[in-house]
């Protein structure tokens, strides 16, 4: 291994690439029309994601975050050697293939993943040129905050800054307000978690479907209006002739 190997950079690179793959897979799964293929793909995606988390945890076990270097694992009991990171990965992979990962292990993996997220967290950033929120990138959270703050600032004056921020917040609030027309309670149903996930994954695709439907309906109404106008005009012409 290279003397100048940077563990932190490498692991961040892996995480960044994985996030890209996750997002692409979400879109691809959402676009899949065949129900069986979609289901198979979703299951495969979940399986791969679990393995990726195990891999990251295994790599992180090999290195000391503080010193950015390989760390030797100390044996707590010389008679019973502690499980190495490598054997841990192999065991967990084998378990996952047999679909028998213990909940405890999953909880530990998730906890560690969350802890690492606090140290090197990424934020999804949608490109401004893309109105449909399809093209995006994961950027480090600090960079995301800088971009966000830069867009909101229009004056160096503190009072104006605050006013602009308030207006921005109000505008954002107004844009996401939905107004109830009646006093009726909404109808609700209970869905399983896997069903909920499928619905949630469908959101982007369904946004497109809804937009297309509205456009189609509007065009149909315009077409109907024009036809009605034409008929009315024909009637008027006939009357005039008489």
């Amino acid at each position: 291994m290279s003397y100048n190997f940077n563990y932190k950079e490498s692991i961040n690179g892996i995480k960044s690439s994985l996030f890209d793959i996750y997002e692409n897979q979400e879109i691809e799964i959402g676009l899949e029309q065949n129900p069986k293929k979609k289901n198979d793909r979703l299951n495969k995606f979940i399986e791969i994601k679990d393995l990726a988390l195990l891999l990251i945890e295994g790599i992180e076990d090999l290195y000391n975050v503080e010193t950015n270097s390989y760390q030797e694992k100390k044996l707590t009991n010389p008679e019973i050697p502690e499980e190495t990171a490598e054997s841990k990965i192999l065991n967990l992979v084998e378990n996952s293939q047999n679909q028998s990962i213990k909940e405890e292990e999953i909880s530990q993996i998730n906890t560690k993943e969350q802890a690492n997220d606090e140290v090197t967290s990424f934020q999804k950033y949608y490109l401004n040129c893309d109105m449909k929120d399809v093209n995006f990138a994961y950027v480090p959270k600090k960079l995301y905050e800088k971009i966000k703050n830069h867009k909101e600032l229009v004056s160096t004056d503190d009072d104006t800054k605050e006013l602009v921020q308030e207006n921005q917040d109000q505008k954002t609030l107004n844009n996401i307000n939905f107004y109830k027309e009646d006093k009726e309670k909404p109808r609700g149903i209970i869905v399983r978690n896997d069903q909920y996930m499928k619905l949630a994954l469908s959101k982007r695709r369904q946004e497109g479907v809804v937009q297309e439907a509205r456009k189609f309906h509007k065009e149909e109404l315009n077409k109907q209006r024009k036809e009605n106008q034409k008929k009315e005009l024909e009637k008027a012409v006939v009357k005039f002739d008489i």
Partner: protein
Amino acid sequence: MDSSEKIIIVDQDNNQQEVEVVTYLSSKDHKNQYLVYTKGENQPNGDVIIYISKMKVEDDKTTLEEISDDAEWKDVQKLLKEIANA
């Protein structure tokens, strides 16, 4: 996974409630669109309660109307099943 989209539902008494958008639905004849959302009421066994309301967009204002017609509600459930059971 995808980051959640939050919206505010304002009722006729001007009470505001923040909810999370799950997805959207469109009827087969393209005439009606529906909003599917949650209020964060997760059950201990992992099941989730979702709510469905009809959406109307007029002059940049989006309104929600509850589904009162049973036949319409059945159609909406079919639309949900197509996605949730895919």
